[in-house]
Subunit: 207 residues, 2 copies
C-alpha cells in the first residue's frame, strides 16, 4: 500500500498525509526526506529543500554551448546529487514497507510500485485562509505577499515535475483521486478517505 | 443533496450515476432530460441529443455581419430553445428533490444549489475497453473509429461547457472529487463513494 500525495500549496495536502498515516497505521514521509539528503551529503537543509522541489533545469540551464552558463558547475552537481539521492530514498521507503510520500514526484518515481496517487487542491481563497491560519508565530506576510509566494511555490513544483515526466502537474490523468479541500476540515475527511483507499487496494488485488 | 457528474466518454460516468442513484435512493437524470425536451417542443430525440451537448456557438456561428451565416435562423432558434429548456428542466429537478444529474453542465447551471460535483475520467485504454464491452449488438466500429468518436464527443462536451462557463471542462477546480475509473468495476467503488458524498453533505451542513 504505497500512497503518494501531490498538492497545491496551502491545500492541506501535508495535513491529509499525516492524518492518513495515523489512520492507516503506516509511515508518512515528507520533510524527513530533506533531512536524510542533507545529512547524507552534509548539505544545508534549507538548500536541499530549495533544490529538491525545484526543477534541475532551473538550476542547470540548458545554455551550455549557446551562451555562457552562469551556474557554477559544483552547484549543478549538488542539485543532481540531491535529485538522485531523493529518488533512491523514496524508492527505499517503498521497498521497506507500506507508506505515504508527500510531494517530490513520488507518483512518477514509484510508478512500478503501483501507488495510489492523490492530488489535493482547493480554491485560492481557501488556500490563503489555510496559510494564514497555519502561519508561524512572528510571520508577517501580507495577503499579496502570501499569494505571490503561493504562486511561486506551485510554479516551482510544476517545473520540478516537468523534469521527471511529460505529465503536467495537477493533470487528472496522473492521479487516482483528486480532492478539493475547500471549506473542509481535513480531519473529517480522513476516515472515509482511508476506507476508499483500503477498498481501492483490495479491488486492485483481485484484478 | 444535489450531485452532478461530468464525465469523459467511456469512463463509466453514466453507470456511476445510475448506481449511486440506487445506493443513495435518489433519482438520476440523464437521457430523461433529452426525452423531456423533445416531448415539450415536438423535436426529434436524436436532434435534441445532438444539440444539447454541443455548444450553441457551433450551431450558431458568430459570423453575422462578417460573412454569410450558413445556419438557417430556425435551426438556431431551436438550439437556443433546447438550451433554455434544458436549463429549466435541470433547475426544476433540483428544486423538486435530491437528485443526480449527469452531464449537461449541471454543475454550472446548479451552482446556487451547492451541488457535489464529480468528474469521472479514465485512461484512454480503459475507456476504449469499456466502450467495446458496452457496444450495442450489431455495432461494428473499428478501434480507430471508436477512438475518433470518443475524441469528437469529448471535444463537443468541452465546447458545450465553454458556452456556459469560463471554467475549462475537466479542470479540477470545478469539481469536489475527480475519480479515475481505470481498471475498476464501478459497482465496487459505489458504496464507499456514497459514504464519501453523505459525509460531505453532513460536514457541509455544519460549516
Amino acid at each position: 500500500m504505497i500512497i503518494t500525495i501531490s498538492r497545491e500549496f496551502g491545500s492541506g495536502g501535508r495535513e491529509l498525509g499525516k492524518r492518513l498515516s495515523e489512520s492507516l497505521g503506516i509511515p508518512c514521509y515528507d520533510k524527513e526526506i530533506i533531512q536524510m539528503i542533507a545529512k547524507e551529503h552534509g548539505f544545508d537543509e534549507q538548500y536541499v529543500s530549495h533544490v529538491s522541489e525545484k526543477s534541475i533545469q532551473v538550476t542547470y540551464p540548458f545554455t551550455i554551448g549557446r551562451r555562457f552558463a552562469v551556474t557554477p558547475k559544483d552547484i549543478t552537481k549538488q542539485a543532481v546529487t540531491v535529485a538522485v539521492t531523493q529518488q533512491t530514498i523514496i524508492e527505499n521507503f517503498a521497498k521497506q514497507s507500506d507508506c505515504i510520500i508527500i510531494g517530490r514526484c513520488a507518483d512518477v518515481i514509484l510508478k512500478d510500485y503501483n501507488p495510489f496517487n492523490i492530488f489535493v487542491y482547493a480554491d485560492k481563497a481557501a488556500k490563503l485562509q489555510r496559510c494564514m491560519e497555519h502561519a508561524k508565530e512572528g510571520e508577517t506576510l501580507t495577503l499579496v505577499e502570501l499569494e505571490h509566494n503561493m504562486r511561486a511555490i506551485d510554479k516551482n513544483r510544476a517545473r520540478h515535475r516537468d523534469f521527471y515526466t511529460d505529465a503536467k502537474w495537477g493533470a487528472n490523468e496522473n492521479f487516482h483521486l483528486c480532492i478539493n479541500t475547500s471549506g473542509f476540515e481535513i480531519k473529517k475527511l480522513v476516515p472515509i478517505l482511508a476506507e476508499y483507499i483500503k477498498l481501492w487496494f483490495e479491488i486492485r488485488k483481485t484484478i
